[in-house]
Amino acid sequence: MTETIGKTKLTFTVNGRETEVLVDPSWTLLRVLRESLGLTGTKRGCEEGDCGLCTVIMEDRAVDSCLVMALQAQGKTVETIEGMGHEHALHPLQKAFIEEGAVQCGFCTPGMIMSSEALLRQNTHPTVEEIKVGLSGNLCRCTGYTKIFKAVAKGSESGGRL
């Protein structure tokens, strides 16, 4: 890759779709997702990796999109909440979050679901302790986490092991 001055082309895969967008080198992945691509399901939070609101999956791993420079996503695969499911074809985690009552204000929910999905890709049968660790980078102020743990267990293949 060559050195970039001013706005430059970022090519990456977003939710399975090859995407090209002009970005300034100083932009974060979060900004590109929300502002350039209109993917506002990813929430902006503390902007320094303390809250997990902006969690997306990049190359199969959960990352804080506020701590990834946009151009670091060059050629990479990025998944956001918009890529998880649709109203009539919910992702199992989305379904489980609804059924278990794991959603309150909902502001942490997209990030929580992305972290849960990243966890389940590494560990299809997490224990409660492993779920707690897997979600420990995502703050929630409404739920006390309890119903989220249940939702993740339900959304995993282990369904109902809690």
């Binding site: 902007e47 320094e48 990796g49 997990g52 506020c66 670091q72």
Partner: protein
């Protein structure tokens, strides 16, 4: 944040050339967990940003003959998942697992932990305890190896030159029977800076005599450093409650003498003693690998 030129090479040679030409005005981006917030707050305003995450030579854990090389951009998650590190250096694995939360561990790198040289670093003290060597490369001088302890000047400052890149961390494989322990105390169980941490590696003779020991407390000193005076107290002796207590007293004496009595000493001094004693006893009670 102020804009900059962004360069993301695939080859080390290109990266070294880039910083050689730009030096102070260029910053190196590894995991970004420390750097990006600094950029946002404009605490730093580089003209050039060098992304080293795409450089293959900097990635991954290699099992060499007598030593292990950990590429500078190896993430904490990759460290936790490395079989080699789990086998030889559980101390580093435990330290890496105590960092932040999953997202931070997925991005944050061992190299970044060294270069940032924050007083509350979790992995750096372990590297110091294991006498790690840094592999530094530059266009001008090629490759050189230095002891990690030698480059840590003071908090947030190293003697690594601005045209040099940290490319890897080399650690000698431990002698048979080496045991280690790590403990971190934070204000909460995740996403917490270390209030204190402690890295210990040691070896005992078959009769129980301590034949090698390395002790590095974290978050109490300006930089991570081995507690030589404490180690020499323990070397060649069999652990007894009296000895461990004396070592604990010595440990905090050294810390207070070096770091000075700060507001947090009232808490940290007795607690460091307690943590030292319990990590020591835990390690001593363990079966050697």
């Amino acid at each position: 944040m102020q804009s900059f030129q962004f360069y993301s090479p695939n080859y080390l040679e290109d990266a070294l050339k880039y910083i050689a030409d730009r030096k102070q005005t260029c910053r190196t981006l590894a995991g970004g967990t420390d750097l990006i917030p600094m950029l946002k707050k404009e605490e730093i305003r580089p003209d050039y940003l060098l992304n080293i995450n795409e450089v293959g030579e900097l990635k991954g854990v290699e099992d060499l003959d007598n030593q292990v090389r950990i590429g500078a951009t190896t993430t904490f998650t990759e460290m936790i998942e490395s079989e080699t590190l789990n086998r030889f250096f559980p101390l580093l694995v435990n330290a890496a697992a105590s960092v932040g939360g999953p997202q931070i561990r997925n991005r944050g790198t061992i190299g970044g932990n060294v270069i940032t040289n924050g007083p509350c670093a979790d992995v750096l003290p372990g590297i110091v305890a294991l006498d790690g060597q840094l592999e530094l490369q530059s266009k001008q001088d090629g490759r050189r190896l230095v002891s990690v302890a030698d480059v840590l000047v003071t908090a947030y400052e190293t003697s690594i030159r601005s045209d040099e890149l940290l490319t890897g961390i080399l650690i000698q494989k431990p002698v048979q029977g080496t045991k280690s322990g790590f403990e971190k105390l934070g204000r909460r169980n995740a996403m917490a800076k270390a209030r204190l941490n402690l890295s210990i590696a040691l070896r005992q003779d078959p009769n129980g005599t301590i034949s090698a020991v390395s002790i590095v407390p974290g978050a109490v000193m300006p930089v991570a450093v081995r507690m030589n005076d404490v180690e020499s107290m323990l070397l060649g002796r069999k652990p007894t409650p009296v000895l461990i207590q004396a070592a604990a007293d010595k440990l905090v004496e050294v810390v207070v003498n070096t770091a000075g009595i700060r507001w947090s000493s009232e808490y940290k001094v007795p607690v460091l003693k307690n943590i030292f004693k319990r990590v020591m006893w835990r390690v001593l009670a363990e079966d050697p690998q």
